[in-house]
Amino acid sequence: MNDEHTIETPKEKQNRHKAMEAIAVLNSLKEDFKSPIKSMDYFYDLFEKVYCRHEPLHEGKTKIGTMCIQIPSEIIYALDGVPIRLCNGFYTDDEIGSDLMPSKSCPLVKATVGLFASDNFTDKPDITFSPTTCDQKTKAGAIIGSLGHTIIDVGFPRTKESEESRHYWRESVKHFAVELSKFQGKKLTRTNLESAIKKVGYAQSLYHKLTDFRKNKIVPILGVDMFLVTNAFFFDKIDGWISAVEKLVAELEQRVIEGVNVVGKASPRIVYTGSPPIFPNYKIPLIIEESDAIIVADETCSSNRMFNDMVAVDEWNLYDMMDSISDKYLKACTCPIFTQNNDRIRRIIQLVRSYKGDGVIYQAFAGCQVYEMEQRSVLAAMEREGIPILYIESDYSPSQQGQLTTRVEAFIESLKNRKRMKK
């Protein structure tokens, strides 16, 4: 019986592992909750196509890899590229990357490095830009470069209040635009940049429509579905994404009229913050929503931080637009890499207020130092405000599921109790 079957190649094995991770999460999204949304099928199918069947989406297009949220997709679209954000949520790739990174590093960075190390992309980036945000991403860029991939650093400041930082970052963005323009053999013009800003801006406005629904008492969409939608923006064709979200908005409008609630009336409303849940690492969001709570808002770079703030243009001249783009990616950013990051605390409190959150769940990836460090100030601020908060450290391994569930459930039960007491 030993000789009947051929053995998988390492790439086939990696693909199977990723398909197994992906399908398990997609099945949970599709099957574990009441009142599924029809127009979510576009997104379920998209992730299945890319991560289970490994079918490329962008054949014939130039794919521009981005290592972090700070690389302006507006400029990439203006120059006819497809942005592919390489922040990675696969445990399979995390394990591969572990061989190249220190053992206590961030699983997201390890997974990105692992994907480059295996050189097994569904849509392989032709060139990658790496903003020097956190230490681990910065150094990971060097590792990826040493593996023979084309990767270019884009200098990013660690303080955002100063005028020097602002100037430095504006220069970095120009430098990035020049590099990409050379690579693409195409000039950045007033016209192509304006239309790219408007297109991305329109996508953002759709996101705002979606999140507005979550301010309602009756919430028509789950937080895990929202994460999937925003996550799709990492790699989907922008036009496909836009028309799918338009349909989703229309369906949700209908649901609001019909009063369709995805959870129970007493289900606690959670604001989610910290390390980004990136498909298929929806471990904590799934535990939360399978424990009869609902994520009504988030403060993460895979979702809210990516869409919330718009590019604010004064005059539609090329250089004005460039500065406006730069400012959006620096000034509005609430990443914990910044020295002072009171903006993030303010943002969380504002989300709790406007989305009527009952509590905050703060997840930090074990190995993500900046999120682990900022936990102290965020917890203190929430205590001052009287907002219950749960801090959880986790990684991509599937092993601690049971313990995590118990902690999350206990927190959610305490929120329910508080709600009952208030009444």
Binding site: M1, N2, K13, R16, M20, N27, E31, C52, Q401
Partner: protein
Amino acid sequence: MKYFVGIDIGSTAIKISVADENKNLIGHKISASGSMFYKYAQEALTELLRELGIDEKEVVYTVATGYGRKLFKEADENISEITANAIGAQQAAKEYGEIKTIINIGGQDSKAISLDAEGNVVNFAMNDRCAAGTGKFLDVVAMNLEIGVDELSDYHFKSKGTPLSISSTCAVFAESEIIGLLGNGHSVEDIISGVHYSIAKRIVKLVKRVGVKENVYFDGGPALNGGLVSAIENELGHKIYVPKHPQITTSYGAAVLACDAFFSESES
């Protein structure tokens, strides 16, 4: 004629092997451990000897191994199942090649054993948690799916979709996961291949702890399951050798050891 008996009393089955003076396997028997394994072991041995036409007096040395080895007082000696497994694998794979790594999945535990060039055990690792990913686990899965354990392999190779991973390998929790998957209309084939891959991933982690050196030998009851064999090969990235009678390697090792012990005692 002199005969040597190795008896392996495991958690789910009693395995007995009989070897001749040249260490050739001349007969074996597998029976359920049941509730009184001492009694059953004796009965099974008597029966096997009768089947082989061997007089009890011709059995000159008996070695017991396995969890229940200390209960079998008639044995001249008893040894751990790790050592017996190593010796048995070396002997059983003689014609195939030199065995450097052994994977053993038993009824209630799983092991990885690493051997040196002389066939000595240099390192081994065992599963540290309950029945996760052992033969018992496969029994529970088959029972839930209402099929026989011997059918698991056929279903595995018929799986067309992505194998559905079972996140908990705890036999109790996995049961409810499987029922959930079935309830949502997933195919039995994809569930089974998912179960096999979940076990394979665990066992390959265990093997990596002792280091993977070729050739790799796989024994224990679950080695009869071709689907599981293929899953382990894929996870490991190379072929593994499954002996003709994967369940009796350890008892055969005990019989081989009995032979060695007898002749070294009579020499001294």
